[in-house]
């Protein structure tokens, strides 16, 4: 695409120019070509979006619709997402470096599924509950209704711009909230497209708004805005901590889906073809730029060499290249800044004594030189105290950690400030599930990795965050409950509860 696409904020159901008139460039990370421009949002832009979202919420135009009415519109939205699959997948790949193979195969469908899941799970969660009536003691009707929170803010990262946004707006909208979202500054356009599609599908103006801009301006304004009731953030643990601090002043509800350093435990009974593919999938999916990436592979010491050798043979065959080529398995790193980070950690690993068994370098030959390409990298000779083994790199870097017995493997796996995901390779179902039980993380996979389902909760233990996305659980994160207690003894002289004050 030669022409540069120009976008505006999406506020109150319409494209809205930014207050400052300043713009930010959006590039294709495979070529560094500028493909789009978006407004550089200001605090006033955020104020405007939040005011509209608040007005829409208070008017009841969305919140007072029945669950069925909202469901119908969300399902229409879900269908419209699929109808726009080609365009959305293309734009997502173009700007995030995600392979077109993946965005066509998974991402667009996942957005649609997030909407469908919110609708379907809403039919299963308790929307109306009742406490026991005590007819002979204190007759009363106590019922509990589930209500929306109000105006939610969703702050999403650049690795899966559409999916991670959908995991927030789908439940928020299902439960009757309004939402203001901030996409990552380098991947803003698909979320803008989705907000527009939502509006076209019948979501009323002001209910779903998107403000583009930097995290330090737009993100901070949202996280600390007095009219925001809840902040949902996906990103690094460091920024998540700041968000939680900012939100704390307003006692906002917060859900955080943060970093990880997920272990992949290969048990000695694993099928090695499965185990090696799993370890590759775990760290190379989206070039390793995934929060739940499996980047610490724990292998039985005696099998280490064989496993590493098999793995490298498989990695060599994976096509690395322009993400828009359907043959490409591994695309570029999303930004120059992130490429820098990856290179920094590879250097640290080497300095701390780990050895590179494969890769370790930026790719600069030919077309690679125009983009942010980095070789899939496998470190051996690591221990769990090394910096590059403990900290999240967010790139195509795998660290091999040998162990002597399963208890040691579990101990190493759990020795991490993070607890987002973990995977186990084993051919013994019972043994694998015993290990799964002992792992301290929000998700454990057996003989797979990255398998996130719309209908199962996803979120972290420990510093990987709190709150859950997906499943029925996410609907609880975007709603609150009210207990209404209706005394059925209207005669004050007969009401036993007033006896406590001697009123009767």
């Amino acid at each position: 695409m030669s022409s540069v696409m120009e976008y505006q904020h999406f506020i109150n159901g319409q494209w809205t120019p930014g207050e400052s008139g300043e713009t930010m460039d959006v590039i294709n990370p495979a070529t560094q070509e500028v493909v789009a421009q978006v407004p550089k949002g200001t605090v006033n832009d955020v104020n405007k979006a939040v005011a509209n979202a608040r007005e829409a919420f208070e008017s009841g135009v969305w919140a007072n619709k029945s669950m069925e009415e909202r469901a119908e519109i969300l399902l229409k939205f879900s269908t419209n997402v699929l109808k726009n699959k080609n365009r959305l997948a293309y734009l997502e790949s173009l700007t995030s470096g995600s392979t077109i193979r993946r965005t066509m195969g998974i991402d667009v469908t996942a957005v649609s599924d997030a909407l469908k899941n919110a609708v379907q799970r809403s039919q299963e969660i308790p929307l109306l509950e009742h406490a026991m009536c005590l007819p002979w003691h204190i007759p009363q009707h106590s019922y509990i209704v589930r209500e929306p929170l109000g105006v939610c803010a969703g702050i999403v990262p650049w690795n899966f711009p559409m999916i991670l946004a959908a995991w927030k707006f789908a439940p928020a909208l299902m439960m009757g909230n309004s939402i203001v979202m901030k996409p990552a500054s380098i991947t803003p356009i698909t979320l803008l497209e989705l907000a527009n599609l939502a509006h076209e599908s019948g979501i009323p103006a002001g209910v779903f708004n998107v403000v583009t801009g930097s995290g330090s301006v737009v993100g901070n304004a949202l996280a600390s805005h007095p009219e925001i009731d809840k902040v949902a953030f996906t990103g690094s643990t460091e920024v998540g901590r700041q968000v939680a601090h900012m939100a704390a002043d307003g006692i906002k509800r917060v859900t955080l889906e943060l970093g990880g350093k997920s272990p992949t435990i290969v048990l000695d009974d694993a099928d090695l073809d499965m185990a090696t593919s799993l370890c590759i999938h775990a760290f190379l999916y989206h070039t390793g730029q995934v929060c739940e990436s499996g980047t610490r592979m724990l292998v039985p010491r005696k099998m280490q060499d064989q496993i590493v050798e098999m793995m490298i043979e498989k990695i060599k065959k994976l096509p690395i290249g322009n993400q828009l080529n359907p043959a490409t398995s591994i695309g570029p790193i999303a930004s120059a800044e992130q490429l820098e980070t990856v290179m920094k950690y590879v250097d640290i690993g080497k300095k701390e004594g780990a050895q590179i068994a494969y890769g370790g370098n930026r790719m600069t030959d030919g077309a690679y030189g125009q983009g942010f390409f980095f070789e899939p990298t496998v470190f051996v000779g690591c221990n769990n105290q090394m910096t590059h083994v403990r900290e999240e790199i967010f790139g195509p870097v795998q660290c091999v950690l040998p162990y002597d017995d399963v208890e040691e493997a579990i101990a190493i796996a759990n020795d991490s400030p993070y607890g987002l995901g973990a995977s186990i390779a084993s051919m013994n179902a019972t043994r694998a599930q015993w290990v799964a039980k002992k792992i301290r993380s929000g998700t454990v996979w057996i003989n797979t990795h990255h398998m996130l389902r719309a209908d199962a909760p996803f979120g972290g233990y420990k510093q990987s965050g709190y709150g859950r996305e997906n499943g029925a659980h996410v609907l609880m994160e975007y709603s609150q409950v009210k207990h209404v207690c209706h005394n059925l003894v209207p005669d004050a002289s007969k009401y036993r509860y007033f006896k406590v004050l001697g009123l009767n």
């Binding site: 669950m67 109306l128 009742h130 009536c133 019922y143 059925l488």
Partner: protein, 397 residues
């Protein structure tokens, strides 16, 4: 007392009483597994805002069962065409719960609908051959259609009774359906919903309840449990009906009347094979479209006057219920005093002793024939007694 007869006490309703107890309607449907609720009512109750007093609860207590629609075509008397039409409406809308808000006509319509829905029927006429169907066990089987009945009069007590009376408008006859499962699974007796009932209707429906109690008491199938309810309900009505008529906002009197009407129907339907007053009232009501409450209110004391011998076996219970001086033991005297007490009550509530329809000789003969051939007739009242009763109850044309 003689050798005691067998009797069965069979009830299937949860009865909840109290101002505001309509709050439980959504919860009760949830407990029964209903999600799509259809309301049966009449236009007057919709316009008076009574229906929304209940249906709003479903909007406020959101997330539970939903009101999908309101069927408000019910008119005076549960006409069979409306029963069929309403059952069709329930099916078309895939409804799985029935919320009934109204008086006798609405509740009897609902019972007919519930019967059709629970028996895969579509025409209530076919279900009631010769305008009557006695479906005691084992023929009366669970209908498996959850319902909550909320009476807006006090009243027929129809919310919990196993009887439904519907009007065959083509034959001008009231048809009876007796079935152990046609009543509401839940009856919510909420006096706030009867506060706006006008004095005349309050009086007529209250006399209907009194009629149930007296007819239940005088039936030769009354039993010791039913008599307890008959007796107590008469006392409550004598005390509270004038209050409710004179001050419609008297919440306590309204509640007492709802409870009494519920008790009276229990006493009636669990022990009244014989109900000559209802027999006459049904015939008169079907022929002249006179509201049932009014018909019962006028007929029962007239029957006590013209056919007092019928009440002799229950004179002891009448004495108790009407607080007759214990020194008086002559049954005929007790019956006369009880009737006098009823006339006093009717005076207190400004209720006429006569229908407002004048009849000539032929008209009276037609009514007597209608009484004698009414499907609910269980006993033959001597024709001269009927003639004198009819002559007394209708003005001369």
């Amino acid at each position: 007392m003689g050798i005691p007869s067998y009797f069965i006490w069979e009830y299937h309703s949860i009865v909840e009483c109290g101002a505001g107890c309509r709050t439980f309607a959504p919860q009760r449907f949830m407990e029964m597994g209903s999600k799509r609720i259809g309301v049966i009512t009449d236009k007057g109750l919709v316009e008076a805002g009574v229906v929304s007093q209940v249906t709003d609860m479903f909007l406020i207590q959101s997330g539970g069962p939903q009101i999908i629609g309101v069927y408000d075509k019910v008119q005076q008397d549960a006409t069979m065409n409306i029963v069929n039409d309403c059952a069709r409406w329930f099916r078309e809308n895939a409804l799985d719960g029935m919320l009934v808000i109204g008086g006798g006509s609405v509740m009897d319509t609902a019972k007919g609908v519930k019967f059709l829905l629970g028996t895969q029927g579509s025409d209530i006429r076919k279900a009631l051959p010769n305008n009557g169907a006695l479906m005691f066990r084992p023929w009366g089987k669970p209908l498996n259609f959850p319902s909550v009945f909320i009476p807006t009069t006090a009243g027929t007590g129809s919310e919990v009774s196993n009887v439904a009376v519907m009007l065959n408008e083509e034959e001008q006859v009231k048809a009876n359906l007796i079935h152990p499962y046609i009543m509401g699974e839940v009856a919510l007796l909420d006096p706030e919903l009867t506060l706006s009932l006008p004095p005349k209707l309050t009086a007529a429906t209250g006399l209907d309840a009194l009629g149930h109690a007296i007819e239940g008491m005088s039936s030769n199938q009354a039993n010791t449990m039913s008599q307890a309810l008959n007796c107590r309900s008469i006392k409550i009505i004598l005390k509270n009906l004038p209050k409710a008529v004179q001050n419609g906002k008297d919440l306590a009197a309204r509640m007492e009347m709802l409870a009494a009407s519920n008790m009276a129907i229990m006493g009636f339907s669990m022990g009244a094979m014989l109900a000559p007053g209802h027999n006459i009232a049904h015939a008169v009501g079907a022929k002249l479209r006179i509201p049932h409450g009014e018909a019962v209110g006028i007929v029962v004391p007239a029957l006590m006057k013209h056919f007092p011998q019928y009440y002799v076996p229950c004179a002891e219970y009448l004495a108790d219920a009407f607080s007759v001086d214990p020194s008086i033991t002559n049954p005929m005297e007790i019956i006369a005093l009880a009737r006098e007490r009823i006339l006093q009550l009717m005076n207190d509530i400004n209720f006429s002793l006569q229908f407002q329809v004048p009849l000539d000789e032929q008209g009276r003969k037609d009514i007597v024939l209608a009484i004698q051939t009414d499907p609910s007739v269980q006993m033959a009242i001597p024709e001269p007694i009927l003639m004198s009763l009819v002559k007394d109850c209708f003005p001369e044309k």
